[in-house]
Symmetry: D2
Subunit: 367 residues, 4 copies
């Protein structure tokens, strides 16, 4: 206990007077309190508290990635904090079960008193999306129009100013792009890699031809292989890569994509392990957000059927449409398209391995 510190009391520390006075059901304005409005308020407030915590972590991570260089201890912290975010996301996803204990009829008892408030007005959630990298340009069309038009001026300005900043996606892309993974002297890694991937795709094509159950399936799947071949070839051709990117097939820059592929492929090397944890966690964050949106869409459908939400729109359809499109780190998620089994992987030269590796036991012997 620091000298001269005052004794701390639990409820003062947690500001419980403020916190526990912030539940003001509107149903009481129009008659008896609807018993379940308390649940509705508290469930949303808990989400907002978790959003605040997730933003607290994301801002710190964002800041670390914004430095000219990210040293190994900083990377450890980034990985640690991303795991925390994932743990909170699991809890948020399970929390849908709590609101589902309210029946549609119980909701109808007070729903009308909330018009036109809407979860789409959660500034923290929007900040979370924008900060990750879901900026105006990348949103689905409906959302580009309507993302802002239910907000008051202060909130809209705050978010629009945020849209001007580099996102976490931008920073992660830059971090990957500046890694010198692609310039090993005399180590023609990518030549070997291209050959190995092509062999694997030839192999897949053989499997398809031998196992297709009808002509239509054969055609569809051969077309899929060809797309893979084209995309993979484009990884090494700046111009073709750029056109893939403009078409929305990939989001990362070319150099960042290659670094991410290298890291994923050699994640067991100590030097890459933390970086791999980070890109994996970013992909999982996307995945868990997607599941959250999906569960929310189903909950809204169960609650309202095809009725309109309090904000005057059919939230269910919106949520469903955004489920898939709103992935920021989808390139990490789909990385395995080009992964090779370890047995097919070009061996790293000894000098490269030495530069990457170290042994806990050996290192210390030498101190």
């Amino acid at each position: 206990m620091p000298k001269n510190a005052e004794a701390v009391y639990y409820s003062d520390y947690l500001k419980l007077d403020r916190l526990l006075d912030a539940q003001q059901p509107h149903s009481t304005k129009y008659g008896a309190e609807a018993h379940d409005e308390m649940l509705f308020i508290i469930v949303h407030q808990v989400y907002e508290l978790w959003f605040k915590q997730v933003l607290h972590e994301l801002r710190a991570i964002h800041q670390d990635f914004s430095k000219p260089q990210l040293d190994d201890k900083a990377l450890y912290l980034v990985a640690h904090r991303l795991r925390r975010v994932l743990t909170i996301q699991d809890l948020m996803n399970d929390q849908v079960a709590v609101i589902e204990t309210m029946t549609p009829q119980e909701f109808l008892e007070f729903r009308d008193y909330l018009v036109p408030a809407s979860g789409f007005q959660s500034i923290q959630f929007k900040e979370l999306e924008i900060r990750l990298g879901l900026t105006r340009a990348t949103r689905i069309a409906f959302d580009q129009q309507s993302f802002y038009n239910r907000l008051n001026d202060e909130d809209r300005n705050y978010l629009e100013q945020l849209e001007e900043q580099p996102t976490l996606f931008d920073r992660v892309d830059a971090w990957l792009a500046r890694m010198p993974l692609l310039e090993f002297k005399q180590f023609k890694f990518w030549d070997m890699y291209q050959q190995a991937v092509n062999d694997a795709l030839d192999h897949d094509e053989t499997i398809i031809r031998e196992n297709a159950v009808d002509a239509q399936q054969l055609e569809t799947e051969l077309a899929g292989i060809q797309t893979n071949r084209d995309n993979f070839a484009a990884l090494f051709d700046a111009e073709r890569y750029q056109s893939l990117r403009e078409g929305g097939a990939v989001k990362l820059s070319q150099r960042a994509m290659l670094s991410a592929l290298f890291i994923t492929q050699y994640r067991e090397e100590p030097a890459f392990n933390l970086a791999w944890q980070v890109i994996t966690s970013l992909a999982e964050m996307d995945e868990k957000l997607t599941i959250w949106r999906y569960k929310h869409a189903m909950m809204v459908q169960r609650m309202l059927g095809t009725k309109i939400g309090t904000g005057g729109s059919s939230g269910h359809d919106y949520l469903r449409r955004t489920t898939e499109q709103n992935r920021v780190f989808k390139d990490f998620f789909a990385m395995s398209t080009y992964l090779l089994p370890k047995s097919a992987l070009p061996a790293l030269p000894a000098e490269v391995r030495d530069a990457l590796g170290f042994s806990l036991e050996i290192t210390h012997r030498s101190v």
Copy 2:
């Protein structure tokens, strides 16, 4: 212990010699065992054991619903067993996290040895789908073609014969349709109900007009209201209802739909509580199956990217497409479209309430 019974030994009872000898990795045929193939096998075997248990419950439930009449104790058992199925589904959904501990590269070490085996060949899962009511006619087009063409004759025959039987959906529909809920003498419930729903839809329309943020949204949402009006009106018009049903907008028969609506609306009445639990559980079963398919689709994408699965098809796309369409009990799920708040609900006449209710405390006083 029954007389003359032999002493039972744990491993004999559970047939552990058979069970624990059923993991035969194929990688050992071609070289060293791929460490992670064991996980792959066991995860799928655990799923198959749970499928067996779920089918054990569903068959019993199916049989109960196939009787001419379902008494109250049978209905209690149906509700109890459906809750068990839901609990198992939660576990199956969480189990995806276990297979996700295998990295794509670890999978690539043995994936080629499994061609063209595929999860689509799980007969138990297909039986589960068919038994619930996902018959050939209701599958998505791709599935109608390919559902059977990877199976051996025995498996195909088994399933095709199953497709001839009335499904659980059919039985549940018949059970609801034969309930005499719609024929209360001198109680014009549905007249009152129609008026109340129309008032509610008028009310929604007002909200939309007052809160629409632009003309396009207004138009879309008014069209939604009109669809609801049309669908609701069709509930009471046999001909229009039939055309809704043929168009796929609803699955239940008209009488079953009205009974389900009545039960949902008055679920607090003791007489309806178990029936409401049953239809809610059926909707949740669908929902949890959907989440299982969705998580599986994402896991497959993470594992293979856009590569083809061992069965020679892009399982990811298939799973994603079926996620939404394959709901059997979607009418229960969307029931809240026509729900009224308790305050707007027509009061049941005393004689009807008396017929439905009983009081634990009062009843016994009279014994």
Copy 3:
């Protein structure tokens, strides 16, 4: 939307200005903010919000049970709300994983600034315990002394006044005790039941004698059987029951215990199903609270080892000791001691069954 209502804005409705301003880390008073203090605050605030919601439900349930009679619709609501409490408890138990993402060292960065605040000062949690029935008399010795001595006057007075009120346990006991389940004319249920239980205990004794692996085990287990015989005999002897109760072996009154046993035994009868759900849920609430205390004890041990908590006591030991003793509804939990298999159960006379049962299908035919 009610006429003349003002448009509602999400952040106003949820009082987000207050809610999101209630996180004031103390580390900033003494230097740079400890990054993880935010997590510590928010995790505790979320718990307090859930406590508020649980109390909201428990107070309503408590009030229902305090009425002279609990009708069937009220009982439905009680069961419904208890399920909600259980769902929230599951989430609170899983939430321990979030605080576990903070390492002990991260906690040490700000722990000293919180002295002597302590989770034992959570008035809402103490209200929850007292309201359930964990009053001063039933707490473990350590707790009787220290329960109040860290509180300020206002908080202490509030809780002491609450200790004067009948608890939920008291009300549930009275509800069970006044059920007329024990007075069926000419139906000597309990005579038959006693005989059936004695047969079952004889049977268990035979199993023990035939399967004991050594003399010591035999002795221990036969003593266990004798205790069961004595306890069971005491159920029907007011004086002996009273002495069991004074010794702490049972908590329920004699009549309440017998009603609970009857309900559990015949829970499939429609008339008892809701009552059975209620007593099962109360037992589960205890169980989940126990797991919460247990997980908390382990988390505190991991965080502090055997160091003292911020409140100046070794919270870990305390929590561990209370894990077992603090069960309020333990009699419901142990009910299966005296349960019979359905095959051994005395059949209810037709007149009793008729009074209890009703059939959804039959009932309505008669309307």
Copy 4:
């Protein structure tokens, strides 16, 4: 697909004929099948499959730790596989909810047919315990006697032979003990550390004296501090440490304990991160096993009350007693007793930090 490979069929690969034929309810021998016996069998079979998988991982980990040296890539795999084990344990813990859907009465319908089989006869679970380090000497007294006496000769021999082998605990202890962490030349780490811990304990003593609520609490807590002082002093005194160890207060050898403390304290250093993940995961494995035993004890109590289990013993009491004592890696769990906040930690000399660290970005620049 390898050349000449035969096409693989899903049900052949998974040996479904064997797997799905291994459920043979005993109730059918004595009358109609008890519906719920299937659940009972399948739940236990699923546990056995997961045990097989956990053993598959533990054996591989055990083997790695048995090598003279564990290089960094092997350590990565150990950490990866331990995480998988933890994920499976989470699922096994949640699986208790499935067996809880069986009511005590449903269990009574077939319980008698299983006598005297018992979960204590699961050889795989016992192997898991022994392999981790829960050997005869460390079991609680009851268990030392009865651990083997329900097994057939083959099973008993298998486990007794296993008890002769070095356990995973032994191997982990040796791995930690041989780390050269304690011999930095001219870096008097442990001198500084002792001083810093003593300061922290003085600090705790002050807090206790200032905040004790009564004399008894003061005495208890000061005694606790003194125990901590003695234990900590013993860490550096081979003779006193040995007597702590013989008394059961610690399990690790002195050198292993100091290495584990060092690693925990400096886990952010890249060189220690994987090692820290490993010791943390081992502690979590213990914790999750403890929760599994605890949930099982509660489930057995709910199912049987104080009745005896099918194996003729009161499983509930046994499980409860073992909950706490059977921790193998408890020293890792309690490590935070001696942890210092980063601010109080002696700085590592530059030469030591350089030996430990590396930077992803810098390293590669130099290739």
